[in-house]
Subunit: 220 residues, 4 copies
């Protein structure tokens, strides 16, 4: 079984992005704990133009069974599994190419939204049982994270791959939170890289199991 796992490079003034670090760690340590899974990892640019091109190219080349996108959501204290991606680009800050689309559709001919197709509830349940704070999220925002999720689900709908696709948001790393201490709003929550790594492994493993057995009740 083949999975594509993407993270993002840093943006918005940060020097680190936990999603990049998780993806790089995966490419180093491999996935011996997930036998039967061939995993491909890529760090995407925080650029609407380039991220879309790179992701489409990868999906066409790899035709993965599973796609999980990872991204940073500064301020959350837990891992989220996204429920839906919406057909809009609305950037509060410019992307790393200086582009800042406002209320533009991702695909003028696409539907308003796609529901993600990972076993969301099962993943969140396993994460919590494993001692990892996690929740379903009903919005992936309107920046790059929502964008790549929409694109991957558009691919699923149109071409049949990835067969299951979705997105997980990660908190800041402790070393990022530590440097924000002087800010007006205080120190934001964080999560260790080890816990994030465990979370993504659990998400991949839970998704793999779906393919073997009877399908879980799918979201509408």
């Amino acid at each position: 079984m083949k999975a594509l796992l993407t993270g993002f490079e840093p943006f918005g003034g940060d020097r680190l992005n936990p999603s990049e670090m998780v993806v790089r760690r995966f490419s180093e340590v491999g996935t011996s704990e997930l036998p039967g899974l061939e995993i491909h990892t890529v760090v995407l640019p925080v650029s609407f133009r380039r991220a879309g091109m790179v992701l489409r190219g990868l999906l066409d080349e790899l035709k993965p069974d599973i796609y999980i996108g990872l991204g940073l959501s500064a301020g959350i204290s837990f891992v989220t599994v996204e429920r839906v991606a919406i057909n809009v680009k609305d950037a509060r800050i410019p992307d790393n190419d200086g582009e800042q689309p406002v209320d533009e559709p991702i695909d003028p001919d696409g539907p308003a939204a796609y529901f993600t197709t990972l076993p969301k509830k099962a993943i969140v349940r396993r994460l919590r049982e494993s001692g990892i704070p996690a929740a379903i999220s009903n919005s992936a925002g309107t920046f790059l994270c929502n964008y790549v999720t929409y694109i991957s689900l558009h691919y699923s709908a149109r071409y049949g791959y990835p067969r299951r696709a979705g997105f997980m948001h990660l908190p800041l790393l402790p070393e990022q939170a530590a440097t924000r201490s002087g800010e007006r709003a205080g120190i934001p929550p964080s999560m260790s890289l080890d816990t994030m790594m465990r979370a993504v492994k659990i998400a991949l493993g839970t998704t793999m199991e779906m393919f073997g057995g009877p399908d879980e009740r799918l979201p509408p």
Copy 2:
């Protein structure tokens, strides 16, 4: 011009719902400040079955130009204008009839989502200029608030009315926050009823202006 404004009755153990109070206040004081607007106000039951029936009945009967739904979002400190409604019912707690749908579609034949059609950005801008904390929200949740928004937009798409529809979430009232003081998580944020009333008037006025002039750039 005709507007339908709905609030919700209390739920989840609360004795008050600010959206109900705003709607009742509107029906008492009238809308002399919004000349040319005929406003109809209704308090909806917090019941998937009955709220849908009541709202569909009202939309058919009134054929309003504008629909604004109001609801409570305990924990927010500002008014939100919702961007999108998604085709799912997923209740964390039972509704007031004891129903608790999990991951069910609102309409099995409907699209995954509808974008709301109020002038969202313009409303938020006016609210802030008027000293009212406000923001666009990208999720109306998966309970009754999202449900009635989806239904109203489904009506717009199918029957052409309401011509503009959307939803605003309101914080707790101060008197509600005051009674939650002993809870583990501390005292949640709140907003005065007067400020909420001003916010809804501004939302109605801003939406009315749209019908006269050239359309604002619509969301995708």
Copy 3:
């Protein structure tokens, strides 16, 4: 009976300070609702050097029965009644004179702390019963708010007046929160000026009652 009520001018880049506005409103509308109370209101500079001088001068001149200091605590969602003032100046930002003491004592010969002598618990109870979110706070910080509280209690201990002294922190006003909407940390909580006015009247009234009857159980 004589009361001194102080607020602070704006600081740290803000154009407003709710404590100043409450104090000015008191001086305009008077205190006919608090018969028997002669109330003096002053807006203090946000300057360690000048605030101390002004407050000491006022206490010597007025010899008030009651002193209540008011100040802003950006980020809280409720009114606090402070329990204690500590003998330290430790400023995260410069005061309005550009002074920024770090870990200095307010009074090298003074005790480490004074407990405030307003009927704190009774005030919080009345505030909540009146629908106003409120709580005891165990720290007035280490900036101007703690400073004037310490000074007033030092006066009480040394000279016998004010007979009861303490401090209340106020949230941001809605119009302040509205302008912070674009910040990284989102929109902070706020409270209406009317609610703040009611809160301070209740605090004054509750404190006045103490002088008539048997003393409430005092803090240690």
Copy 4:
């Protein structure tokens, strides 16, 4: 050099207390990374009566150079180093013996407060430089954490030992936050046990260094 490190047993319905786990881990792994330090670890009962007795007994027996108390502060996202302990017991919930003192002095003859004597600012600086979110806190609350800190500083003042004493609050562990997911207020922040262990080692090491060189500027 001798240090006493205390944690607390679980309380208030929790099955875990991170301060207990840090202390137990220290007693297992030893402190080979802190050469020259003889470290004694104890888990204190969450009981005003028994915690005081146990701590006084330990201080008399060990006469430690350094005392660091550890405790849980559910809801914080970072480690705190406390600045001050105040002479009050005011319990929001009963302790594990069912005692719930309200506004009682810890020591009717003691001062209103003691400033802690660890190198607080240096510890926080090192923690942040080491990538650990940390801040000075100006209140240790009015429950057991403040209580043992006050007692240890009272001992320092009266008997000369511990020579340096203070308290650090720890966030929830991820596995604790994970089980709170269904609560009204959402999922609280957390920190991994490994990060907490590193934080306490840094605090001990930074305090040890003080004894060798010229004293750091002391708090007032």
